[in-house]
C-alpha cells in the first residue's frame, strides 16, 4: 500500500538579486494514513516553505518550486491544473496556520467563514450549512456555538480562533491536515488543549497530520515520525522514539540538548554558531561549521541520506559516532 502523501525530491528556490536561494533542497518523506509526521527545524530551515509548497501556496514571486513530486493518493499535486488543485485544497487537505488571528478574515463572522468552505466544496448552504457549522464548532469544543458563530474573530480568544480554524480545515473531512506551527501563538495551557483536540479528531476522522513545529515537546507528544530539516535539507528521519532518544545526526542531538530541562539550573546547552547564510552555503555539510564531530570529509562533500537503523535515516558521515 502506498503512503497517503509521498513527497519526492521537492526543491523550492527563491530567485534573489544575490543569486538563487535553495530554501528547500531535495526533500523526500512520506506520511502514512492516520499517522502524524512532524517536520522539525529552527526558523529559516525551510519547514514552512516546504509545507506551503505542498499545496502550491507560496505567494507568487516569493518562491519557485524547482523540482520534485508531491503525490497525494498517487496524484502529483505539483502537476495538477489549478482547477483540480482547488478541489484538493480545503477538501482532501486541510491546513491550519500559526497565528489564527491573522488567518481569519476580520470582516466576516466566523460562522460565515466556515460556511463558505462548506458551500465551496460541498455545495451546502442555508439552514443545512448553518446546522453543520454549529456541529463543527461543537466538534472542535467551542462552547455555545450558536452564539459564537455570529461573532467576529476579534471577539474570540486565541485558542477559540485556532479551534475555528480547525473547524474550517476539517469541514470537508480531509485525509490530511497540514498544521503549520498550530500552537506557537497560543498560551501553554491552550496549546495542550489544541494538541489533544488535533489528536482526538485525527483518530475520529482517520486523518493524517503533517505537523510543522520547532517545539520538540509537541513532537514527543503527538508525532509518530519525525523529519528534521536543517538549512533546507533533510538531515534525519525516523520514528519519534528513535529520534528523540537516540539521535544520530549531531544537529538533532544539539537540538535535543538545547531543549533539555536542566534540573541543576545549569547553562542551557545551545548549538554554537548560527545557520549559514543562504547566500554563502558551505560546499560540504551545511552543519559542518557548527558540528563538534566535523572532519575534512564533512567540509568537502554533502553527506547523502543513508539508512542507519530500522526506518531511521540520517545525512551524516559520522552518524555512527554521534
Amino acid at each position: 500500500m502506498t503512503a497517503l502523501l509521498q513527497v519526492e525530491g521537492l526543491s523550492v528556490h527563491f530567485d534573489t538579486v544575490r543569486g538563487v536561494v535553495r530554501a528547500v533542497e531535495d526533500l523526500s518523506f512520506a506520511v502514512e494514513r492516520g499517522q502524524t509526521v512532524a517536520l522539525v527545524g529552527e526558523s529559516g530551515s525551510g519547514k514552512s516553505t516546504a509545507a506551503l509548497s505542498l499545496l502550491r501556496l507560496l505567494p507568487p514571486g516569493a518562491g519557485r518550486i524547482a523540482g520534485g513530486r508531491v503525490l497525494l493518493d498517487g496524484r502529483d499535486l505539483l502537476a495538477l491544473p489549478a482547477r483540480d488543485l482547488r478541489q484538493v485544497r480545503g477538501a482532501a487537505v486541510g491546513m491550519i496556520f500559526q497565528d489564527p488571528m491573522m488567518a481569519l478574515n476580520p470582516v466576516h463572522t466566523v460562522g460565515r467563514q466556515i460556511a463558505e468552505t462548506l458551500h465551496h466544496h460541498l455545495g451546502q448552504r442555508g439552514a443545512a450549512a448553518e446546522a453543520r457549522v454549529v456541529e463543527l464548532l461543537r466538534r472542535v469544543q467551542v462552547p455555545a456555538p450558536e452564539q459564537r458563530m455570529r461573532q467576529y474573530p476579534h471577539n474570540l480568544s486565541g485558542g477559540m480562533r485556532q479551534r475555528v480554524m480547525m473547524a474550517m480545515a476539517l469541514a470537508c473531512r480531509p485525509s490530511l491536515l497540514i498544521a503549520d506551527e498550530p500552537t506557537t501563538a497560543l498560551d501553554v495551557t491552550v496549546q495542550a488543549q489544541v494538541l489533544s483536540l488535533i489528536d482526538e479528531l485525527k483518530a475520529e476522522l482517520g486523518m493524517a497530520v503533517l505537523l510543522i513545529t520547532h517545539d520538540l515537546g509537541v513532537v514527543w507528544e503527538t508525532a509518530q515520525r519525525v523529519v528534521v530539516l536543517y538549512a533546507g535539507r533533510k538531515v534525519e528521519e525516523g520514528p519519534v522514539t528513535e529520534i528523540l532518544t537516540r539521535p544520530r545526526h549531531p544537529y538533532t542531538a544539539g537540538l535535543l540538548r538545547a531543549a533539555e530541562w536542566r534540573e541543576d539550573g545549569g547553562r542551557l546547552a545551545e548549538i554554537p554558531g548560527s545557520v549559514p547564510s543562504p547566500h554563502a552555503m558551505p560546499p560540504g555539510c551545511a552543519f559542518a561549521p557548527r558540528c563538534p564531530l566535523a572532519d575534512d570529509r564533512c567540509r568537502a562533500a554533502i553527506p547523502p541520506i543513508r539508512p542507519i537503523g530500522p526506518a531511521h535515516t540520517a545525512a551524516c558521515f559520522r552518524a555512527e559516532a554521534a
Binding site: 506551503l52 507568487p60 488543485l85 496556520f97 478574515n105 476580520p106 465551496h120
Partner: protein, 278 residues
C-alpha cells in the same frame, strides 16, 4: 452592537460632519421636491430680465428673464445626479483596476498602473473638456467624462490596499481552502479594503460637482438642462450690475461641496478610528 450602530455612534461624535449631513439632506430634499413645490420651467421667460430678488421672483431673474430659483432647484438635480453617478462609476472602475493590479502584481500590475499614470499625468479638467468637446455635450457624456478623469485615484488607492492585504495569512488560508481568485478578491479582500475607498468616493462627489459646474460654466453642458455652472456662466456677463445672479448658484455650489467634504471627513473618522486621534 451591530456594525451600523457602532458606525453611527462614531459618526455622530463629529459635529461638523453631522452639520454637513443635515445641509446635504436639505439640498437633496430641494433637488427631489423643489421642482414639485415650485413648478416653474427654468427655461421659461417670465418677466423683465436681470431683476433683483423680489416677492414674485424670490431669487430674481437672469439676463433672459428666467426664474433663478427654478433654475437652482432643477440644477440641484443635475449636479447631484452627475456627481453621484460619475463618482460611482469611477469607484467601480477604480476598484476593478486597482484590485486586479494589486492582487496579481507583476506584469498585470505594471500594465494597469502605466495606463492609470497616463490619466493621472494629464490635468483632469483639461481632459474632461476634451472628452466632452469630442462627443456632444449631454448629461451622459459629461458624467462619463468626469468618471473617466476620476477613476485613476481610486485605482491607486485600491491597489495599495490590496498589496497590503494580499500577503496576509487570511488570504493564504482562503487559498488553502480552495477559493478562486475572484472570490478572494471580491468577497474576502474587498470588504477589508473598502473603508478608505468609501471616504475617497464620497469626497469625489464634491470634485465631480465642481468639474460639472466648471464644464457647464464654459458652455460644455447639456443644452436641455439647467445646471449651477451654466447659471454662473449666464450671470458672468452682468457680474458688475447683477452680482447676485452668479453669486447665488456660486454660493450653492460652495455650500454643497463643503457639506459633502464635511460628511466625507466624518466618514473617514468613523470608518478609520485609528487616524482619529490627531
Amino acid at each position: 452592537m451591530s456594525g451600523l450602530a457602532l458606525f453611527w455612534r462614531r459618526f455622530r461624535r463629529n459635529t461638523a460632519a453631522v452639520g454637513g449631513l443635515v445641509v446635504l439632506l436639505l439640498i437633496v430634499g430641494a433637488a427631489v421636491f423643489g421642482p414639485v413645490l415650485h413648478p416653474v420651467d427654468p427655461f421659461d421667460m417670465l418677466g423683465r430680465p436681470t431683476q433683483p430678488p423680489s416677492a414674485r421672483f424670490l431669487l430674481g431673474t437672469d439676463v433672459s428673464g428666467r426664474d433663478i430659483l427654478a433654475g437652482l432647484l432643477h440644477g440641484a438635480r443635475v449636479s447631484l445626479v452627475v456627481g453621484i453617478v460619475a463618482s460611482l462609476a469611477a469607484t467601480v472602475v477604480g476598484l476593478l483596476v486597482g484590485a486586479v493590479a494589486g492582487y496579481y502584481g507583476g506584469v498585470i500590475d505594471n500594465l494597469l498602473m502605466r495606463a492609470t499614470d497616463f490619466f493621472l499625468t494629464i490635468p483632469s479638467f483639461v481632459l474632461a473638456i476634451v472628452i466632452v468637446a469630442i462627443f456632444q455635450p449631454s448629461i451622459f457624456t459629461v458624467t462619463a467624462a468626469i468618471a473617466t478623469v476620476s477613476w485613476p485615484s481610486v485605482a491607486r488607492l485600491v491597489r495599495g490596499e490590496f498589496i497590503a492585504q494580499r500577503d496576509r495569512d487570511y488570504v493564504r488560508a482562503c487559498r488553502a481552502l480552495g477559493m478562486r481568485d475572484w472570490e478572494i478578491i471580491l468577497r474576502q479582500i474587498l470588504p477589508n479594503a473598502l473603508p478608505p475607498v468609501i471616504v475617497v468616493s464620497s469626497l469625489m462627489v464634491a470634485t465631480a460637482i465642481l468639474t460639472e459646474s466648471g464644464l457647464s460654466f464654459l458652455g460644455l453642458s447639456d443644452p436641455d438642462v439647467v445646471s449651477w455652472g451654466y447659471q454662473i456662466g449666464v450671470g458672468r456677463s452682468v457680474l458688475r450690475v447683477a452680482w447676485w445672479m452668479s453669486a447665488i448658484p456660486g454660493v450653492t455650489i460652495l455650500v454643497t461641496v463643503l457639506a459633502i467634504n464635511l460628511v466625507g471627513e466624518g466618514l473617514n473618522d468613523a470608518l478609520n478610528p485609528r487616524v482619529q486621534q490627531r
